[in-house]
């Protein structure tokens, strides 16, 4: 009987170690830091090259698009800190910079010395209306 328990214990231990190891290694490449623009821009060096989800507001009248392409350059700010961002691809409907309805966005990508490089499909607009308005 004790022999059996040793077997069960050993199997469980091996499984747990293997799964934790796998989980750890996949997590390291799969995770992204979720940060606001000001948190990152006040300490740029530390965040350069890391995968980020950057939360901020599009600066009024800052979106520029190269004609006949899907290449965008725009500015995102939060609490006074501003970052230049680049993106190529289709943008969501709510991605706007018109005064009064500047989009609140989350950008996926990495910070480079030239600005924020957004990966494909990396622009997510925070939905202005959720299922229910905050009361």
């Amino acid at each position: 009987m004790t022999h059996r328990y040793i077997k069960i214990g050993a199997t469980t231990a091996v499984l747990v170690v293997a799964l934790t190891g796998l989980l750890w290694s996949t997590l390291r490449e799969g995770t992204e830091y979720y940060k606001h623009v000001d948190e990152v821009m006040t300490n740029q060096q530390a965040w350069q090259g890391k995968r980020l989800q950057l939360h901020g507001h599009v600066v009024t009248n800052s979106i520029m698009r190269k004609p006949n392409t899907l290449e965008y350059i725009f500015k995102v700010q939060n609490n006074g800190q501003v970052v230049n961002a680049r993106y190529t691809g289709i943008v969501p409907d709510t991605f706007k910079d018109t005064p009064g309805s500047e989009a609140e966005v989350v950008l996926k990508g990495t910070l480079t010395p030239e600005g924020f490089h957004t990966e494909p499909n990396g622009v997510m607009a925070k939905c202005p209306s959720k299922y229910e308005k905050k009361s």
Partner: protein, 827 residues
């Protein structure tokens, strides 16, 4: 009316507490009258909640804009259908709907089981009442849906979110809720068994069917959510590992595990602690899922917004559930000892055990991934997020192992499989599997994930086919009927087993569709009029970008010609619609060309009408439609397993020999005829149909609404509306209508002319809501349901004439045993 509603909720709370207390006291003192009184109070809660729901629906229908909830979730111009569905469109109403469903299910379960499981009933009543009390408490003190404005009624409501004004979205929540709420019943019986100490397997028999029922609706709810995301959100996929999607998936994993492990307990009296724990965990996860959605603790598009008070109340309730449930389990551990040991790892119970571990691991993994951002923020201060690829990396191998077990598990013998048995069962499936793998490798198709998935699909499909063929052959030999009758009889003899196989087949098809994801292609391009873009085997040309308006909304539409090998095969119309009052949030109208092999899926991401540029997002998604069909078959299989036992066997015992094969053939033909309705991407028509024959006068508009398109592909939209899929038929019909109006014909004359020409009154109808067009997807379900209903009807009819059905049943059970033995011992 609002105060009446509030009063009803308060009364429900009071009666609920009475039912809970009286039941427990009655059970402990063996006071039958107290218990009866508790049951009565329990039924009363159901009546009160029904009345409260009626008040709520009435408030929506009459537009009582003094109630805040009504103002937030509806307006006066909303169609009737969405006025009713607004009931569960918001947070407060959804909680109320939850309690309403729970009271109905609870009363039904208690009514059905009140004699058979008398010793459990008081505790069942107490448990369900306690759960109801929690939700009623939420409503009474915190989220009263009947809260009114102190400043007097508003003139009109804000309207339901346009994204929710969709057929799927209207029925997705109730389906999910039915699944979630249904899981409370097994939990209540589990707790009752623990509390009363009646821990034999009888409580399992009481809840098996309930769990299956709840599981079916949970699966259906998930399916509806997926198809909604695919058709409405326009990002090209159907599952994004969003926290709220995950929340609905978690109890699905554990409930699936329970449905399988319950069989091990029935047959071998093992896993008794395990089953109780699974029931508790499943219920806990439904509450946890509700908590995730309502409290705003995770970031999600689905979330209702944050609400700290609600979060604390839920946390407290969840702690109570865990402490009480697991306290009871530990207290009763001595009674829950397994009566058998695992004899061999090559046995069915071992396969089920592994299946359970994997499902449970999946649940914990998804839970971990969902909570990871919140956990990492709490622990390190840095919010770390994980995305789809992380989940996919883990869930793909897990799904493959599950698929493998789906094929292997049911063919292994209980206790221990012999080598001969293994060879007999797995020779053909193994050949099919290796053959498929070889063929895929020869064709140069990527082996990892998708290739393995397809090979395993072949393996499992072969095992299922083999089971059906062998069973039917034996039955044919024993009863001397034809193969169809034998097949139907076989399923009838052992509905759970063969229903299970059908459900497994559905699972195989779903995974086949998932496997197709490995070959997805997508691109994003700005496309000027006249320019081409190539993706996969398709060439897509932008013909033009046009703006039109139908009074309700402004529509920007891209006209795209689709070519394969230089030949035009289709025209697609992705669009953006700007609804009045919601101009800031245009809806994306996805254009999908469906085939069984792959979907061509195009959305209009942006546009410049002046320059005639369409910014397109194009996806080629192979095998997607198999996922939807798989769900249909899964539901059909579960339906078979759920059919009442006696009814079906009487029906078969009395059935004339030819009847079964006739029915089977009819059903087969019906399915074949129905198939084109959703296999066909739409009628190929000329490119001008969208702009063709717009109503010039109000009279013509009215006529266009009254006449229904007969093309058959649009789900009977009226000819004014059947424009989306380039329908040649409606184009022609609109033309005829215009000609008749030009001739000065009146309303009745025109109708008469159409009836004469098209031969029936079928094409006349009221305007049909857009969402109903998608009803085509319900066809397989409806077929399944009507088949089941027909069998049930026949059963009732034949039973009435029967004099001595018991004899038949006795013979049949002997027969069934023989078939089972023969199947097992043929080696």
């Amino acid at each position: 009316m609002a105060s009446l509603g509030s009063f009803l909720l308060l009364a429900s709370f009071v009666v609920c507490s009475y039912a809970a207390v009286v039941s427990v006291v009655g059970a402990r003192r063996h006071a039958r009258r107290l218990v009866e009184s508790g049951i009565g109070a329990f039924y009363l809660v159901c009546a009160l909640m029904t009345a409260a729901s009626a008040v709520m629906v009435n408030a929506f229908l009459t537009g009582d804009f003094s109630i805040k909830y009504v103002v937030h979730n509806s307006d006066s111009v909303q169609p009737l259908f969405y006025k009713i569905t607004s009931y569960w469109g918001g947070l407060d109403g959804s909680i109320m709907f939850w309690v309403f469903l729970l009271s109905v299910f609870g009363s039904t379960a208690v009514y059905v089981n009140r004699e058979r499981h008398r010793e459990l009933i008081p505790y069942v009543v107490a448990t369900i009442s306690t759960v109801q009390m929690f939700f009623l408490y939420l409503m009474v003190v915190h989220n009263n849906p009947f809260t009114t404005y102190l400043s007097g009624p508003r003139a009109d409501g804000d309207g339901l979110n346009p994204l929710l004004q969709n057929f799927y979205m209207a029925i997705h929540p109730p389906s999910l809720y039915t699944g979630f709420v249904g899981m409370t019943i097994p939990f209540a019986f589990g707790i009752a068994a623990l509390a009363s100490g009646h821990l034999d397997d009888s409580w399992l028999r009481a809840v098996r069917r309930w769990t299956m029922f709840a599981w079916l609706f949970l699966s259906f709810g998930l399916f509806l959510g997926m198809i909604w995301a695919y058709e409405e959100l326009g990002w090209g996929g159907y599952w994004a590992w969003d926290p709220v999607e995950n929340a609905a998936l978690l109890p699905w994993f554990t409930a699936t595990a329970f449905l399988h492990s319950v069989m091990v307990q029935e047959r071998r009296s093992m896993l008794r602690v395990w089953n109780v724990v699974l029931v508790i965990v499943t219920f806990f996860l439904t509450i946890f899922g509700t908590f995730l959605t309502r409290s705003g603790i995770v970031e999600s598009v689905h979330a209702f917004g944050s609400d700290p008070v609600l979060a604390w109340l839920f946390t407290a309730f969840m702690v109570v559930i865990l402490v009480v449930s697991f306290g009871l389990v530990i207290w009763r551990l001595p009674l829950l000892k397994a009566r058998n040991d695992l004899d061999s790892w090559v046995s069915r119970e071992a396969a089920f055990l592994v299946n359970n571990w994997i499902l449970l691991f999946s649940a914990f993994f998804v839970l971990f991934g969902t909570m990871f951002p919140t956990l990492s923020e709490a622990l390190t201060g840095n919010r770390l997020t994980v995305a789809g690829p992380f989940f996919n990396k883990w869930m793909a191998p897990i799904a493959l192992i599950l698929l493998f077990l789906t094929g292997v598990g049911p063919l292994l013998a209980w206790r221990k499989s012999t080598l001969n048995n293994l060879v007999y069962q797995f020779m053909w499936p193994a050949i099919a599997c290796v053959g498929t793998a070889g063929a895929l490798a020869a064709l140069g198709i990527r082996v990892w994930a998708s290739g393995i998935c397809f090979s395993l699909c072949a393996l499992v499909a072969t095992t299922i086919a083999q089971e059906f063929i062998r069973g039917a052959n034996i039955r044919k030999r024993n009863t001397g009927t034809d193969i169809f009758t034998a097949l139907v009889g076989l399923v009838g003899r052992n509905k759970r087993r063969y229903g299970g196989y059908v459900a497994h087949l559905g699972f195989v098809l779903i995974l086949l569709g998932f496997g197709g994801m490995g070959f997805n292609q997508d691109t994003q391009v700005p496309l000027k009029a006249g320019e081409d873009v190539k993706i996969g085997r398709y060439t897509i040309r932008n013909t033009s970008v046009k703006v039109s308006d139908d009074g309700q909304k402004q529509m920007v539409t891209a006209y795209l010609a689709v070519f394969v090998d230089g030949k035009q095969i289709d025209t697609l119309y992705p669009a953006k619609w700007f609804f009045r009052k919601h101009e800031q949030e245009p809806t994306t109208e996805v254009a999908i060309r469906r085939t069984l092999a792959e979907d061509l899926y195009i959305t209009l991401g942006g546009y410049e009408v002046g320059a005639q540029v369409a910014n397109l997002e194009i996806h080629v998604n192979p095998l997607v439609n198999w996922v939807w069909m798989g769900f249909g078959i899964l539901a059909l299989g579960t339906g078979i397993a759920l059919l009442p036992e006696r009814m079906y066997s009487f029906a078969l015992a009395r059935m004339p020999i030819e009847a079964a094969s006739t029915t089977a053939l009819t059903l087969l033909l019906a399915i074949l005829f129905a198939a084109p309705a959703f296999a066909q991407p739409g009628m190929g028509g000329d490119q001008n149909t969208r702009t063709s024959f717009y109503a010039r006068t109000d009279f013509e508009k009215q006529m266009q609404r009254e006449i229904v398109c007969t093309c058959g592909a649009c789900g009977h939209a009226n000819i004014g509306e059947c424009r989306k899929d380039a329908c040649g038929t409606s184009h022609q019909m609109r033309g005829e209508l215009a000609a008749l109006i030009d001739q000065g014909k009146g309303h009745d004359e025109i109708i008469q002319a159409f009836i004469t020409k098209y031969g029936s009154e079928e094409m006349l109808g009221a305007p049909i809501d857009k969402g109903f067009n998608r009803l085509a997807w319900l066809v397989p379900y409806l077929l399944g349901a009507s088949g089941a209903a027909a069998i049930g009807f026949a059963a009732v009819k034949w039973t009435r004439k029967s004099d001595a059905p018991e004899d038949n049943a006795a013979i049949d059970s002997a027969l069934e045993e023989r078939i089972d033995d023969e199947l097992r011992d043929l080696d």
